[in-house]
Symmetry: C2
Subunit: 133 residues, 2 copies
């Protein structure tokens, strides 16, 4: 059936994504690559991100208008705490959440329950001296 090929474009995209280490949109990544002299097309960026996603190499995050991608640290199930200002991201595991989800599903008599959970906040650096609530 054919496997995925190791092209220069794919390498460049994966590499840049790791360097950035924060969530970026396909368009941002494309612009960023273009600034470095890359001639990779926008469609290729979209297609490659989709492939990397399928392979579990990246995480996705959905904002109001677009999808953001980030090179994935852990391949295990996890969630994100993202700074709404600088994009700094902390990966968080939530065993309690998984347990809670299972319990809720059982009580409501639902099966095959999946969940999506994202945390959005302001990191200490971006918050300056302000203290939390």
């Amino acid at each position: 059936m054919g496997r995925t090929r190791n092209t220069a474009q794919r390498q460049a995209i994966a590499k840049r994504l790791e360097e950035l280490s924060s969530f970026v949109s396909a368009q941002q990544l494309h612009d960023d690559l273009a600034k470095s002299g890359s001639k990779i097309g926008l469609a290729t960026v979209y297609r490659t991100l989709q492939v990397l996603l399928d392979e579990g190499e990246v995480d996705v995050l959905r904002t109001d208008s677009e999808l953001l991608y980030r090179s994935c640290d852990s391949t295990e199930h996890h969630h994100h705490l993202v700074c709404r200002i600088c994009g700094r991201t902390v990966e968080v595991a939530g065993p309690q959440i998984e347990a809670w989800a299972r319990q809720v599903a059982a009580e409501a008599d639902f099966i095959d329950v999946e969940h999506t959970l994202e945390l959005m906040g302001t990191c200490s650096t971006c918050a300056g001296g302000r203290k939390g609530v």
Copy 2:
């Protein structure tokens, strides 16, 4: 400044949304209304849903490609367990989740943390006799 007006369209949209009591897209709602002989325009449906959302009258849910709206039962903070087949929805409160989120935020030194959480599964009716995992 001006307040929102109580037009026939708005009433029809809010009414139908309550009757449906499950998550529907703006387009589905528009089609549904059209089948009942309504001549309400699609743009009006979109605009009205946005208004209802601002007023806290409806909840939104984001799927891969579109936004789904549902008339809101409780005005308090809550999450949803939605059947991926029939759309039946159970509102669930998650005090444990809120506590967990606060703790995670504190540990990572983030402030003003918000979260989004949705549960998606198959309800007993749609699952037929199949038993869960």
